[in-house]
Assembly symmetry: C2
Homo-oligomer: 435 residues x 2
Amino acid sequence: MGPQLNVSLCGELLDLEKLIIEKSASVEHWLRDSFNQNTPPFYCSVDLRNACFKIAPIDTNLFPAGFNNLGEKDMACTVQAFMTSIEKRCPDVENVLLIPEKHTRNKFYLENLGNLFSILSNAGLTVRVGSIDPLVTKTVGVNYRNISGEDSCFEISPLIFRDGKLKLKNFDPDLVILNNDFSSGIPNDLKKINNQIIIPSLRDCWAFRRKSYHFAKYDQVSKEFCKFIGADDWLINPMFEHCKKINFKNKQGESCLTDHVSDLLKKIKKKYNDSEIRKKPFVVVKADAGTYGMGIMTIRDASEIKNLNRKQRNKMSKIKEGVEVSDVLIQEGVYSFETFVDSETESVAEPVVYVVDRYVVGGFYRVHSEKGLDENLNSPGMQFYPLPFENGCQFPALSNDPNSTTNRLYFYGVLARLAAIAASKETSNSPQSPV
Amino acid sequence: MGPQLNVSLCGELLDLEKLIIEKSASVEHWLRDSFNQNTPPFYCSVDLRNACFKIAPIDTNLFPAGFNNLGEKDMACTVQAFMTSIEKRCPDVENVLLIPEKHTRNKFYLENLGNLFSILSNAGLTVRVGSIDPLVTKTVGVNYRNISGEDSCFEISPLIFRDGKLKLKNFDPDLVILNNDFSSGIPNDLKKINNQIIIPSLRDCWAFRRKSYHFAKYDQVSKEFCKFIGADDWLINPMFEHCKKINFKNKQGESCLTDHVSDLLKKIKKKYNDSEIRKKPFVVVKADAGTYGMGIMTIRDASEIKNLNRKQRNKMSKIKEGVEVSDVLIQEGVYSFETFVDSETESVAEPVVYVVDRYVVGGFYRVHSEKGLDENLNSPGMQFYPLPFENGCQFPALSNDPNSTTNRLYFYGVLARLAAIAASKETSNSPQSPV
């Protein structure tokens, strides 16, 4: 026996998974209908947590990194899905500018970028990478290892803004693809573009996007799906509350936060009691516009809020690129009981599913050996290692065994697509003003 | 060293393959453009022959069998491509009737049918199989082995025609998918359908389709492609002639055939001389509306025509389902120098590439150990065994080595897509009257 993922679903969740597997053709039909009502995200990654009695998406990233963590066997589907995505959005495009995050010294991010560069090239685009980082003043070569383990390279060049377009020296792209969520705001040159297609839309950046709005849409989508299939949506839908105008440093809005945390913990307690779940409820407080695992804390009792020490308050008050946190999402905590058993160690494993256009293309487990089962696994400095999914999430196994890996991954793929549908509704009707 | 495919390209063909690999992003862009001008076939398989100095598609099947011969690793892309194909053509469809060939006792065909059934189900369709064979009077179960080696089953039921639709008892499909090329004509009930979508179109059946028209379109497409990339189209384009109103039994039209064979052999000879190819030219005479490897013969000298004996004449005069041959295609013979070397035996291997909508999803080698290098490998009673392609044909390798398997298969995938584009032009502008 090699290393294995050690979890069995239970209770109503097991019944829901069985239903989804048995009715997979109808489930796919339902998903097809739903994706047809709104344009799916160009690409996204969805973090799931599996508590055995509940599985839920807890974060949907519309500027996904981590393409380096997919399996080699996932590449063909990934390339094919990007082909479809490009054909639908901008079939005439040939030259593409890929804009990455600024942190160009993070080895893992550069591996992601290299693999994304290679995937988009294979999808039939002539790709160049251009950085918004003012420190990038000349073209630099980047060596990376691709998914097949081969040494490869690409270049990062400084951007030039001219004629309403972003360009590189001797490269005039028709399309700009963003792999940067612009948490700290959209650079002026990008706002001024009037002669180029930008994908994803700038309104999908964290400068505009709100987690609370995403989960409101997910609440709607998961309710519709569970009504269709005949199940309680709580099994896949994390409850949440929302507080505005919080200032962690001077305790402004603290009572709003305490009240909502207390309410949500009570609701979870009731659900746990009704379902005879003998676990301690917890909530996760997150910056509403945050990303990158910053500005996140786990709360097990409302009294913890007023007892936060200065270090904890500082940690919550700022996210990536120094942006101040003011609005927070208070989300039902979903335990991560999925563990990865390798010889003598048992590690927490959190699945991350990649969706390109409407297609699940693969995913991996974020395996972490030190953190607890109720802690955020996507935190700065975290030591996780990626474990690509054993097989695709595209379709169920021939057998109806809900605990077969193939069926479990198919179930994950369905949940990730529900989150992608929520994202499609979110961005097409966003109350946030676009650029 | 395991078994391996033993062939190296040479001369201008090697240069062409190098160009395609180096410029793959532009090649993909060209293909995307071309597919956008006409609707690609719902599905097709393309037979290629590799003579090292020339590689060409020699048959494009719009009702492909052989899905059982694909690799397990190809399934995810295949399902995804069918999803895209369905989404574009008929997103609302849920219930689908699959109509197979009549020969329901051929084990390999039934395996194809079972795998196609499973692929379409996984693409989000509720599929049932209904036979036009009048001998099928009640629902019968069929056991088959799927690509993953698992034992599985499906049912074949008799068809009912009612309200302008084909149905099964208790099953009212919105869509009819044909896996039957109707060589001997289209059944009356199918012609009367006025309330259902039929895919592929009935005009794609061999009752209407002509090989000569397909290769005229392929001639045009391959010329455009080679002009774009800068190469001689002969490298990938088999020359052909066309004779109408042939009767092999009473020798009617024999002089037309002899003249054209003679002309074509001279043209090939000239090309061989110009390119310093020291091989004996040959042509292949095929029924213009034929399929299934029937009504095909190899000719090395025009004099062979008048010396055909009665048995040979009979063999050429009828194709599948007893249909009389009257029109023939005289196609430049392309040697098959690709061989499969397994311990001590060396076998001829002919690649077959599968294209679903615009996506290459995989393929296999038809490996045959008895036939000569210039004979048709798709003949009745042939003993071939399938060898799934080692990896996908979706994208080239990181290395530019034209003899790497990945690059060779990518090249095959490009050629198969050129044939699919020809088929898309053929069916949308067919001079044959539709139903």
